[in-house]
Amino acid sequence: MSGKKNKKEGKKKSKVRPKKVKEKKPKGSVKEAPPTVEEIIEEVATPGRIASEIVNKVIPDMPKLVKEGVEQALTKMMIEEGYTREELEEKVREAEHLLQRLIKEVELIHGEIPEAIYEELLRKLSAEVVKTGVTEEEIAEIVDIAVKTYQESLVHPGEPVGTVAAQSIGEPGTQMTLRTFHYAGVREMSVVLGLPRLIELVDARKNPETPLMILELEEEYKYDLEKARKTARAIEYTTLGDVVSRVQITKEGIIIHFDPDILEDKGLSVEDIIAVLKKSRASSSRVEPLEGDEYAIKVKVRTQDLTRIYKMRDRLMRIKLKGIRGIKKAIIREEIEEETGRKKYVIVTEGTNLKEVIKVPGVDPRKVYTNSVYEVETVLGIEAARETLRREILNTLREQGLDVDVRHIMLLVDAMTKTGVVRQIGRHGIVGEKPSVLARATFEVTVKNLVNAAATGETDYLRGVSENVIVGQIVRVGTAIVRLQMKPTELGRKVSSGGGK
């Protein structure tokens, strides 16, 4: 068995390890060999490295954002305009006092704009200062305009953001695929995408149709295929039935034959299985290895009643050998790590069980991701659920090539998680909890809503949009939101006391 194992492992490794480009090079030696991936990366990386060296030499004490901006500018100038190192160093030195001025200028308005815009402004302006050499007055002017533009683009009071969000998500939604199944992303796994998935998310269903998890591994596991595979095996839920090739029912009992390939793939040995079965109540002490066949075991039965024997066989097949309940499959996926550029392994599972998977050694508990919003809500809390929902909705839309602004989606997920639980959008959730009878009746089950309201004597205060549309009043949205505020008592007092202020 061990010989076989090594052979197979060896094969797999040779498939994974060498970089494809390198391998091909010696074969196609007739023409000039194309540059390898490493060479290309080297070529692109060099200007970046030089830029970072210049920045650290000339302006080492500037804020990180400024340095980043300058670095980007230098890299671009080097590649596109062919500046040399010395010229660039000179440019940065010239720009130094301007940069200082810029930092001061941007710091002044730090409190007036959100963090993201502050960062962007600082980064982009630093780049521009080095590249085009703007003057001090221009810097002040640009910063001024940026702040003004930001303030002008804020949502105005009375803007019906909910309606706008609904339209912005609804319209592209009509272009989504209606097909339930799609094979994309992970091989050997189907993932529900498109409209069905969006409906699932918005309905806040407890169990997604295709639950899946993405598990990042801990430092010592993620670069090691063997360790990654071991972790994956520990997670995958395996029953006796999964590793069996054939079951025979004889006079002596149930004889179970195993598939050696599957056993090896799951990292199990016949001895392991016997040990597990001996502990199990269903099989207890009647398990023993079968003589003459190393890949088979025998389970003795006492009765001769065939139905009972069949029942027992079925129970045996369901015995858990290892893994975590709910995880049907665990596949290892290769990825390039963004920060280091190294190849790392990630486990993708079919089926989810966040609570248990977090405890598995080797899995990075901080980065466990599942597409089941309900599980996230129960294990990590409402805020994490909100974030998962946001990502899932956004990814579902993006995957279909629909570019919906995050703001609409953030409003949607905030509305869904407002009460501390994930509520669906619909008559059992957000709409169902609206205070207005008419608003509820416009949505679904009109008659039932009206009858119930009439029976219980509900009052509609006509504060929302839908109810005012029905009644034919001006909807309190936009400019109509402005109301005259008056205290009659206060007014009376003022009039009687001779008016004025």
């Binding site: 959100p114 963090e115 993201a116 815009i117 502050y118 960062e119 520990a234 290892k322 893994g323 975590i324 248990e356 977090i358 405890k359 598995v360 050694p361 508990p365 901080r366 980065k367 466990v368 991701y369 996230v376 129960t378 294990v379 990590l380 809390g381 409402i382 805020e383 994490a384 974030e387 998962t388 995050v406 703001r407 953030m410 905030d414 998680t417 407002k418 009460t419 501390g420 639980v421």
Partner: protein, 89 residues
Amino acid sequence: MAGSKRKTKFSVLEHELVPMHEIVPPDEALKILRELGLKPTELPMIKVTDPVAMELGAKPGDLIRIIRKSPTAGVAIYYRYVVPVITKK
């Protein structure tokens, strides 16, 4: 295998998806409510049984400040009012 414990217990606060949560001291909470012009019941809520609220040891009536990383604003501050669990359905 699944039952094996790791050396230090993992806290949900460390998870990538969980933003920074903190309990706001009562006097500061009052000030914030006044500033926002809201009654506590008008705020978004968080259950006492929420894993994060339990980790912080929050009690009903507390105000929790959430510092989110936002794709549009960089950093966004959000408040949730801790509420007892209402058994519905």
